[in-house]
Amino acid sequence: MEMQGKRLLLAVGLALAVMLVWNMVFPPAKDETKKTAGSGSQVVATAPATAPVIVVTPEAPRGTEQKLVLEYPGKLIATFSSYGGALVSWQLDSKKYLKDDSTQKRGELLPARPGTGAFYVDFTSTENGVRKQPTMRFPSELDWVGTKVSETEVRYVLDTPVVHAEKIFTIVPDAYAVKMTVTIDVKVPANTLTQQSLAVSAFAYQDIKADMDGGQQIEARIWNSATFRGEEIFHTNWKDLAKAPRWEPDIIWAGYEHPYMLQAYSPRREGVEAVEKYSYAIGADGVMRTDIVFPAQKFEPGTTKIKEEVVAYLGPKSYKSLEAAEASAEFSPGFTATVDFGWFGVIGKPLLWLLLKFYAFVGNWGIAIMLLTFLVKAATMYWTTKSMRSMKAMAALAPQMKVLQEKYKEDRQRLQAETMALYKQHKVNPIAGCLPILMQMPIWIALYRMLSSAGELYQEPFISGWIDDLTTPDPFYILPIILLVTMFVQARMTPVTGDSRQQKFLQYGMPLMFGVMAFFFPSGLTLYIFTNTVLSALHSIWMNKYDKKSLAMVAQMKANAEAAAAAAAKPVGKGGAAGKSGASAKNGKPVAAKPVIDVDATAARDSGDADDDDVPEATAGGSSSSGPPRQRPRRKKRRR
């Protein structure tokens, strides 16, 4: 019973730890259907009202749609419409975005469809987060008059007896950014209007039939509605949004996110009251709508002027252009928050910077990844060489260790002291220590995160025809299979230090684990693991053949081991230990003294407490007699 309880605890503990690490590597999807105050508010779309509503009516019957198209070759094509004076299409003009259906209608972040688009303005009325029927409306059928001011600027004007409105759009094509400034002069008597909030809306499409929960890939390639509120990005998919609209206060930006794309609208004004999001279906299309609702404004008698600014980023999640977009705005719209490097951004960002430099140099992301791996490997080469040497030495000492383990199997502390003495005698010691190894881990985790979330790699080929997109798994499974084979080979080359069970895991388990995972990893990541394995293997080969230091060391260890084995055959045993303490006089004292005083004092307590509390092996130790001798070495090698 007792043992079972412990095992249960261990299982729970391990599960927690796995979750912890998993969350570090893959941060939670943040798929939260949190409904803040007033989320229950029903969306009053265009329902007729009982209150007097001033509808800004068109002067003349609706004219034909006038479109203004701005083209920036290699970057994007933006289309504005006189209907509503809005941005109705935004197409990324790059071959790579034309390949993927999930970005919808081939690279069109904003697909041109009647009645949808971005930067529509309207009035809304809210009270304590509950949306009310507005007393003034801007129907989207209104005809705005558009003029192309310059290559990057478009102006739309609406002039009616009730309002005079103006929208100025400024496009920063290199940053995939567009800024809209809207100015509205209200020319109505104050008593007809109370408090009104300006709302700027933006639409997005998501195929309803798409798999919203993931599927084979780590992240489903769908558009989710997203809101950035300063710390976290909150996501809701089309389905959940259709069930209940969301009302979110204090936003920095609101819009839509795809694993590698972003449509974000950020109001310049701080403390923008809320964003209202909802979705509905038009045929097979899921439409999502986001309204950025500015704080309510009291309309003074006479003319009231409203001026608001919204900056949008509509493009790939590549750090450089996100930063450029942030720089082009005169405030901080927080677009870069969309690139999530996880906990280790401090390391991830420089790594990405390096990767970009390599890419600028070679012009192929796959080769850039290989170069980056090479660099990281070279940077840690000094330590890996040293640790490989000490690994070899340990392997050579293994027979002596076995003797010690047999001798002190009942006394863990004594065994440890003796082991240390043995290491000292042969001048081997794990060279690095725990800290450098623990410090290295963030590098790998950061690299992993960076490779699996960088929009730069999206739809980028390594070798076209084979791997056309480094963010999807290898379509022919060639890389994972080669990886599996190289990992097997590499595992065989490393010196044997552990006991047989652990060795088996290293030789078969690890390559198999990684190999299988590689079938699902983005191929950019697999390419990195593969390069790393090949480099490690080459390093081992070089060490085995040419590293004089380790060759000499191993030869000497072997000779020592044989001598020791011969000595151990005669029952002198302790003499060896005494000799060791004598040899290293400085260190000899604590080594020799501690076991005598400390060990005996604590051993009783220890064997009763720490030892049998030591979870998995303890069970075996109790029941079978062959357990203890094996359990000790295993433990020793595993816990570092």
């Binding site: 796995v18 690994m391 502390q413 595993r638």
Partner: protein
């Protein structure tokens, strides 16, 4: 140890267990300059000295386990109270 305490200890030690069973085998070579190794030390420390002192001791030990440290045999230091009890046995 009460069962709640056991659970707390298991939770506190779960990262160590994960490290030992999953991460440590990946690096293929023993890396600790001390004996008991840092992870053994952490387990012993938490069990012998309680959760708070144990964590502090374990962190301090990991920080000391670097290439410029001498390393060597260094078990968890017994607290005064504990030593006392042990001597009575």
């Amino acid at each position: 140890m009460t069962s709640i305490h056991r659970l707390l200890v298991a939770i506190v030690l779960s990262p160590v267990m994960f490290y030992r069973h999953v991460l440590s085998p990946m690096k293929r070579a023993p890396s600790c300059r001390y004996l008991p190794t840092c992870s053994e030390y952490a387990v012993d420390a938490v069990k012998q000295r309680g959760i708070l002192v144990g964590i502090a001791l374990a962190c301090w030990r990991i920080l000391r386990c670097h290439p410029f440290a001498r390393g060597g045999y260094e078990p968890v230091p017994p607290s005064r109270r504990c030593t006392h009890r042990a001597e009575q046995h």
